[in-house]
């Protein structure tokens, strides 16, 4: 087996462990940290079901962002939904036989790649053009966008310019899944694409990409507005015991 194959096999095992382990750890920490007071941003739903609805609207149509800024909303939604389609399309490299709905989704997934780039460039452009956003951008914010754009462009390049050995690639990943590594086609664009993806997986749990699990734990969005009806205690507030009631 070639050195390249070994390096990439190890890289993807490590990246997967970091991504899954890191995210699981972060989610665990979020879940274990108490929310001692009721702080939903009101008006807020007064039932659990209502909160589920609010959360669904936040993560599917980016409700608050829509209220806030139509440009960020537009580029944000283009990028995120295109990314979703692209990820689904990539399932074909990990499944044998390929699930039929993935086959149907295939054409959308391919063109979504372009939309993803449009969304990303829109978001990136704002970091240069809008002085307020320029002010708050750190180097890491630019690098993150550069990473995503590079992933998208290298992927599109393989689809439309330098076709890569898809069969070999799929064998490599199926091999990884069954812990029986197969040779990876040593195509430079593919190697770049894969290295960037692995990088993204590794930085995910230690970067602002934590907004993905974070949004579900945000007390201003996930709390029910019922403090009068139901006494809420957690963390330090759970140790309050008031004398003198009935």
């Amino acid at each position: 087996m070639s050195t390249v194959t070994i390096i990439y096999a190890v890289l993807f095992y490590v990246a997967t462990v970091v991504l899954v382990g890191g995210l699981a750890y972060k989610v665990y920490v979020f879940a274990c940290t108490p929310a001692p007071l009721k702080i939903p941003t009101t008006p807020a739903p007064v039932t659990r079901l209502g909160v589920v609805g609010r959360m669904l609207r936040e993560v599917t149509v980016f409700e608050s962002l829509f209220k806030s800024n139509k440009w960020i909303w537009l580029f944000g939604i283009l990028f995120h939904f295109a990314l979703l389609l692209v990820l689904l399309q990539h399932l074909r490299y990990f499944t044998q036989p390929v699930w039929s709905w993935v086959v149907l989704e295939q054409p959308f997934g391919i063109y979504a790649g372009f939309i993803m780039v449009v969304g990303l460039l829109g978001l990136w452009g704002r970091r240069f053009v809008v002085d307020r956003v320029r002010y708050i951008s750190n180097l890491s914010d630019h690098l993150m966008l550069a990473l995503l754009v590079a992933i998208a462009l290298s992927g599109l390049m393989m689809k439309f310019v330098f076709h890569t050995n898809i069969i070999g690639l799929k064998e490599f990943f199926l091999g990884l899944l069954s812990f029986n590594p197969q040779p990876l086609p040593a195509d430079p664009v593919l190697l770049v694409h894969l290295a960037l993806v692995a990088t993204l997986m590794i930085v995910f749990p230690m970067s602002k990409l934590l907004h993905a699990p974070g949004v579900f734990f945000s007390p201003t969005r996930n709390q029910v507005d019922n403090p009068r009806e139901q006494r809420h205690v957690a963390g330090w507030s759970a140790s309050i015991h008031n004398p003198g009631g009935r």
């Binding site: 972060k26 979020f30 940290t33 108490p34 929310a35 001692p36 007071l37 009721k38 702080i39 941003t41 009101t42 008006p43 739903p45 007064v46 209502g50 608050s64 962002l65 209220k67 806030s68 800024n69 960020i72 944000g76 809008v130 002085d131 307020r132 956003v133 002010y135 708050i136 951008s137 750190n138 180097l139 890491s140 690098l143 930085v203 230690m206 970067s207 602002k208 934590l210 907004h211 974070g214 949004v215 734990f217 945000s218 007390p219 201003t220 507005d225 403090p227 009068r228 009806e229 139901q230 006494r231 809420h232 205690v233 963390g235 330090w236 507030s237 309050i240 008031n242 003198g244 009631g245």
Partner: protein
């Protein structure tokens, strides 16, 4: 009037360009050591204060999911950058919510995240230094904790939580703000923010009884410490003290009078305000709130009603049950606590009040949604009742009412500019500039509809507006209580 320029009011809202450092000089007076010690904070900066501050930050993050999620999740999308009235009024970029959060986040990243430990420059992580502390002191006292940013952030990141934590960290190393901490001290030593002792309070209330009698010929009571009353009213002490607050108190008294419900104030808990929230101190938050439980038990009341006060309503509505509940000793048929507007609204619904709107025909009214009522609490049973109920009370009392423009009311309301413990003369420039977005929306209804009365249900808003309205060429007595309108409209002697 002062050595700064009052911002211009425009036809349309304009998002200013960034002007770095325009408010870097703004700092409130620092609390003296004895003031700090009275609240359980150290009096002097400890020698290893940097370490202690970082440690405190870690503890706060461990005990607050909000803080942890907010510090980890911001993507610097910029959606909040034009939402803060202090940014809009000052154009200082550190008053953009995300930039304000970053003052604390940079330190969190440096000490509590891998990327910040390894690559501080890359992710904007900073060591805890004197410069950082000074910046915190300045800019975390330029946040009124109004939560407007949290409405618009895709993850609900609430800068108020961050600035509360920052103030708590600063207090833990002795660096406190004089205005807030002096007031909390007064609540402990005397019983209310204004430092009004019991005899003076009784005097004031007796005086009010006489005034109302002179004006209306009716014996409206202002009871204090009356055991066995049905309702305990907890109201900001400003209501005992000055215009336009006091008109509100007179309004409450008349409502109780006409409804025939026995009520009382308490000298032990003669203050609804709880400034401990502003400084993020939950020990003090609990301690200040606890007086109210004691008063309710001691007086044997069945219900608690809270007067017109914004942050006090947040503490009462959202936190009381947690802090000083359960309220199993009160009448379960009523919500605990109840807002005075909910109380009056229910009476109006039941036809228990006789209100003559034409008594207010000299007024064209608009209503300012106070931040803490709008974005941190509720009234009634449906979401958004906090917008509907006060307006319904106003409309029942006046003929002419006009709302300000949609982006400046309800959950998008602009802060008065003086909330969050910033209502002090040493922050006058900030207060005036921060009021600009609200004043601009007000100007439009003044010009279009001839509005001459700005109604509010918050003691801080009322005080702040009385002070800043003249800077924008509005008369200072334009600001008034919602229950001041009720007070005028109510026809005493027709129902009781």
């Amino acid at each position: 009037m002062a050595n700064f320029e009052t911002p211009a009011l425009r036809e349309y809202p304009v998002i200013p360009l960034v002007h770095a450092g325009t408010m870097a000089h703004s700092k409130p007076f620092v609390a003296k050591p004895d003031l700090q010690k009275a609240l359980g904070f150290p009096g002097e900066l400890p020698e290893n204060w940097e370490k202690q501050a970082v440690k405190k930050l870690g503890e706060l993050v461990d005990e607050s999911r909000a803080l942890r999620v907010f510090l980890d999740s911001c993507v610097k999308c910029g959606a909040c950058t034009d939402k803060c009235h202090y940014y809009l009024g000052t154009s200082d970029p550190k008053n953009m919510p995300v930039a304000r959060q970053d003052l604390l986040r940079s330190v969190y990243r440096r000490y509590y995240t891998l990327s910040g430990r390894l690559f501080p420059k890359l992710v904007g992580a900073r060591d805890m230094t004197k410069e950082v502390l000074d910046e915190w002191y300045s800019y975390f006292h330029q946040c009124s904790q109004c939560r407007r940013c949290s409405v618009f952030c895709p993850y609900g990141i609430d800068t108020a939580e961050i600035s509360m934590a920052a103030r708590e960290i600063m207090d833990s190393i002795s660096v406190g703000q004089k205005y807030c901490n002096e007031i909390i001290g007064k609540v402990f030593s005397i019983g209310n923010n204004l430092g009004l002792p019991e005899p003076a309070l009784r005097n004031t209330l007796d005086g009010l009884e006489e005034d109302v009698k002179d004006e209306t010929g009716v014996d409206v009571k202002f009871p204090l410490d009356e055991k066995g009353a049905e309702v305990l009213v907890i109201t900001p002490s400003a209501d005992f003290f000055a215009e336009p607050h006091i008109d509100g108190l007179i309004g409450y008294a008349k409502v109780f009078h006409q409804a025939g419900i026995r009520w009382t104030l308490s000298s032990h808990a003669s203050e609804a305000a709880n400034f401990s929230m502003f400084i993020g101190s939950h020990e003090n938050l609990h301690k200040v709130a606890f007086r109210i439980r004691e008063a309710a038990l001691d007086l044997g009341v069945k219900r608690i009603v809270v007067g017109e006060c914004g942050h006090a309503w947040r503490v009462a509505y959202s936190f009381w049950n947690t802090l000083i509940g359960p309220f199993d000793f009160l009448d379960p048929r009523y919500p605990v606590p109840q807002h005075i507007c909910e109380f009056t609204y229910d009476l109006i619904q039941r036809g228990a009040l006789n209100l003559d709107k034409s008594a207010n025909d000299d007024k064209v009214v608009t209503y300012h949604d106070s931040c803490n009522v709008a974005r941190a609490s509720r009234m009634g049973t449906m979401p958004g009742g906090q917008f509907i109920i006060p307006r319904a009370v106003i409309r029942a009392s006046v003929n002419k009412f006009h709302d300000m423009e949609p982006g400046s009311i309800h959950e998008s309301t602009f802060c008065c500019g003086g909330g969050g413990g910033l209502l002090t003369d040493d922050l006058m420039e900030l207060r005036v500039k921060g009021a600009q977005p609200r004043m601009q929306a007000l100007k439009h209804v003044v010009e279009d509809h001839g509005v001459n009365y700005l109604a509010a249900i918050c003691a801080i808003c009322k005080t702040q507006f009385a002070k800043v309205l003249p800077y924008y060429q509005f008369p200072m007595d334009m600001i008034g209580s919602v229950h001041g309108l009720v007070s005028k409209a109510i026809q005493l002697g027709t129902k009781e």
